[in-house]
Symmetry: C2
Subunit: 184 residues, 2 copies
């Protein structure tokens, strides 16, 4: 669909490898017509892997230290990745867990879903909890630079408070887990 005069519509201005950029002409609820830039994203899944059993007083998480060009360095993150075409979010989460850390999930449950930055993208991340982990081989992509680290929840919470965990999905997921899942 192309914009024609003042009619609402979508104009694709860039088609990329990871993201597509549209300019949408929309009529807002207050009647204003606006041209809004929006990064179209297929959505993603992320997963908080717990090594210990759920009853442990300070369970250990599996985190990754990933090189991020956009952050000009390494960030602490939970495993995550984009949904493939038609992929179920839970399947995506366990696939990314296996590819990035080698761990296979015995049990997976949905925690919550979030918009990463809704001012300019429709990206939504579905966050899962993985437990009953067993080890296997990893399968990193060539542009994924990462190391796997085991971090107790108490230490992860200190890293958030100290500003050393700066990735939003990661900080949010750990705080969510600590508050609502009694995994601390």
């Amino acid at each position: 669909m192309s914009t024609s005069g003042d009619l609402p519509g979508t104009r694709r201005v860039y088609t990329g490898r990871v993201i597509n950029l549209d300019v949408d002409r929309v009529v807002l609820p207050n009647g204003t017509t606006a041209d809004l830039e929006i990064i179209r994203h297929p959505g993603a899944s992320a997963i908080v892997p717990i090594l210990s059993d759920a009853e442990a007083s300070d369970p250990t998480l599996v985190l990754i230290r990933q090189y991020r060009h956009a952050a000009a360095g390494y960030l602490y993150e939970i495993p995550a990745g984009r949904l493939n075409d038609g992929e179920d979010p839970a399947q995506c989460a366990v696939r990314e867990l296996a590819e990035e850390t080698g761990y296979r999930a015995g049990r997976v449950e949905h925690l919550f879903s979030m918009f990463t930055t809704p001012g300019f993208t429709d990206e939504r991340i579905h966050v899962f909890l993985a437990s009953g982990l067993s080890e296997g081989p990893t399968a990193h992509e060539a542009d994924e630079i990462l190391k796997v680290e085991q971090v107790p929840v108490s230490r992860a919470l200190a890293l958030i408070e100290g500003g050393e965990i700066q990735d939003a999905k990661t900080a949010l997921s750990i705080l969510y887990l600590a508050r609502y899942s009694r995994h601390e």
Copy 2:
């Protein structure tokens, strides 16, 4: 700077009103050369406004319900907005608070900073806490559709657990506040 052959460099593929899109050719720490799409963003500030005094057992937050085209509806959010050219993040935070809610902040403190989605953007949001609020006029932009709501922290935490607060910066900021600032 333009890419030339295989040399590292940046190619601007779109210059927009809110965002710019570059394709960066980079040499990663493992020696791999990759073309990475990156949304260049000036950064943003967000602010958690507390109406009650800091010692209250369940203080009231000022949240907004904002229409987001990318989310196809209204989202609960904390006040936030992009940094103007050269603007100090704390100044940006109090400016956005005043523009979006009318409230003037008596006291502002930095809570943390976060990358919203570092896989494809360098956007970083600086989150502040505002207290000692006084009321004044709002100044919405034409494409900002929002309502101001007073929400106790206990209710905000229930909205996060129930999946009704879906904006990452908002859920993260409230959970951060509840855990580390003893504002609950």
